[in-house]
Symmetry: C2
Subunit: 376 residues, 2 copies
């Protein structure tokens, strides 16, 4: 289901097959929280910008329009007309970051909807039921994403509970996949490593979840306030305990530089809302660094956002026009910027794969790691 | 430059040639106020939905990004990458509806920008200069759009002044077209008939402007609060004094029913923000009438917005999904709705032209005039 095609040091070129096609890794997943990409991008736009995997949020879709409705409509692929791979998160991250008045027990988490305050309970079984209804290709385990910093004792207890939850997720998804009404019975589960930035807790947890022989493993609970170095150290600490023959996913990461460093440390999957969010504020990625398109100096610039980019925006529109759209507060400004930034990320991943193929990844990483993250 | 291909009673099938291609009439112009269509539609989307003429606003573009900048960038066609016909209004309508503290004199209008309060003066010459800088194919005369109702005496004086302004517009545009820096020296001027709902003032004014033998004539100052019947009566009153061999434009109109009635009364050009604005609120046109996509009954409706529509949204997405996008407040909801509604309008015009071609317009009008305007 996942195989490595080539390695350069720890970096891996690979592919993962899913019920909706093959994912070429390393890959960046494009985030469509509520079954749509922020910035008015459609499923058709995602095809245009070279998206391989769309990522949707269990918590949001459970609240609205409801996962049962989506199952009725044939699953999330049919609902949003995206016929390529989809990954759904477990809902855990949003429960701990968005919802109100949480109460955690061994069973799961009781919380209030951030939309209407409605009381909801979600544990491993509920999360698997919802993700089964959505019919994503990759379901994520239900976990607790602890704050950084958190007391060691709490992190340890939480990691143990998250491990017990993971076992419940695995057996629960198996049951749901066996049911007739499952829109995507080939759905697989990725386990999630937790442990904040405590090296020994992370390693111990990683060893235990690796023993479950799941189809893939994620490093969760990062990109929540720790330094980049702490993040890289944590990846390095757990990486050697992650099964070599399973895909590895660094959740919620990150900048182009973070991704280049993550790939160098053996990571295959990434996702982040940042390119879309920054795009909506006019911060655009280029192969020379990050530009702020609202800057006065672009007012009569006839060139494209990035002369090295071949996205639908760069192929047709000028910096001058895109800047005007921002100043005039036209919705089209957001669409163009999100489209460009996501294309840039997908293109970056393509270059990463090409360099891995050619055995030139290390020099590619050195050349671009800081350059791409620099504001120019 | 304009020729009638076929007539059915007063309704005309025609074509107008412009420096950026032929316009097949009757036509609905798609409104891109600030050089972009509200709802994140791009120039590429306009091509997809069959837009023939894009309409931009002189007042808005003068304020932001400035018509001189647009001329520097090669004119509005190049700036927004729209290579088909563009019509610009004169700025008059916005000055009288948006701007603050207006003072009208024989020379023109002094007013304050609605964006930053900046003092601006615009008269016939300034409007022509701006429209010349923008380089549209059709420039509209600078006029005063009086409120309905207004005292007869005021309307009469205003119509006389608007006539004097029109003569200044004609000679001014001629001068601008002769200049080397004009981005579109083939730009033509349409005169605008005013006179509120005073039949005799309208007719007198129409006769006088017809004598100027301009390339086209508009009926302005309607769709500003009068009844539909008053609007139809006004069209009928002036129509016989409009040159038969020139295109006729009913400004700011209207619903599908209004357009069908306008065509029946000899009108060739229409424009209205309504399909885009209503779309953004979830009111969607179909061949069976207007639906509110936010309605609960569409929550699990797998069908397209309109089974008779072949727009990019109807070809791919369900009512259920579009409704979800609205409820989830996704920007994509607006984009889909505006795209559908504008496609619907462009498609309606295509059907109008086909029926005129086949000599079946009268029965087409009878069948659809009330149906298309009815909420279902």
């Amino acid at each position: 289901m996942y195989r490595i095609l080539k390695k350069e040091n720890k970096a891996r070129l690979g592919e993962m097959t899913t019920p909706h096609g093959t994912i070429h890794t390393p890959v960046f997943m494009n985030v469509g929280t509520q079954g749509a990409i922020k910035g008015a991008l459609s499923a058709s736009d995602l095809e245009t910008i070279g998206c391989q995997v769309e990522l949707s949020n269990t918590y949001h879709l459970h609240l609205r329009p409801g996962d049962r409705l989506i199952r009725e409509m044939g699953g999330l692929h049919r609902f949003m007309t995206w016929n390529r791979p989809i990954l759904t998160d477990s809902g855990g991250f949003q429960i701990f970051s968005l919802a109100g008045l949480r109460k955690i027990s061994e069973e799961g988490v009781a919380f209030n909807s951030h939309i209407d305050g409605r009381h909801i309970f979600m544990g491993p079984e509920e999360s698997m039921q919802i993700q089964s209804n959505l019919g994503s290709d990759i379901a994520m385990a239900f976990d607790e994403c602890v704050k950084i910093p958190s007391p060691r004792e709490y992190v340890e207890k939480s990691a143990e509970r998250t491990f017990r939850w993971l076992k419940r997720c695995a057996s629960s998804l198996k049951e749901y996949n066996a049911r007739d009404e499952a829109p995507n019975p080939g759905q697989v589960l990725f386990g999630i490593n937790q442990g904040a930035v405590f090296r020994d807790i992370r390693i111990d947890h990683m060893k235990k979840i690796a023993d479950l022989e799941l189809p893939g493993y994620a490093i969760g609970g990062l990109a929540v306030g720790e330094t980049h170095q702490e993040m890289y150290d944590t990846i390095e600490a757990v990486e050697e305990y992650m099964p070599d023959d399973k895909p590895r996913y660094l959740m919620g990461v990150g900048t182009p530089g973070n991704i280049l460093e993550g790939v160098a440390r053996g990571v295959d999957f990434f996702d982040c809302v940042m390119p879309a969010r920054n795009g909506r504020h006019g911060h655009l990625f280029t192969w020379n660094g990050i530009i702020n398109i609202k800057n006065e100096k672009y007012s009569s610039d006839p060139g494209p956002i990035d002369p090295l980019c071949f996205c639908p925006v760069c192929r047709r529109y000028s910096r001058s026009y895109v800047r005007h759209l921002f100043k005039a507060e036209e919705m089209l400004a957001m669409r163009f910027s999100v489209m460009h930034n996501l294309y840039f990320y997908n293109d970056l991943m393509l270059h990463i794969r090409q360099n891995l193929e050619q055995g030139t990844y290390e020099s590619f990483r050195k050349r671009f790691t800081s350059q791409l993250d620099t504001r120019i």
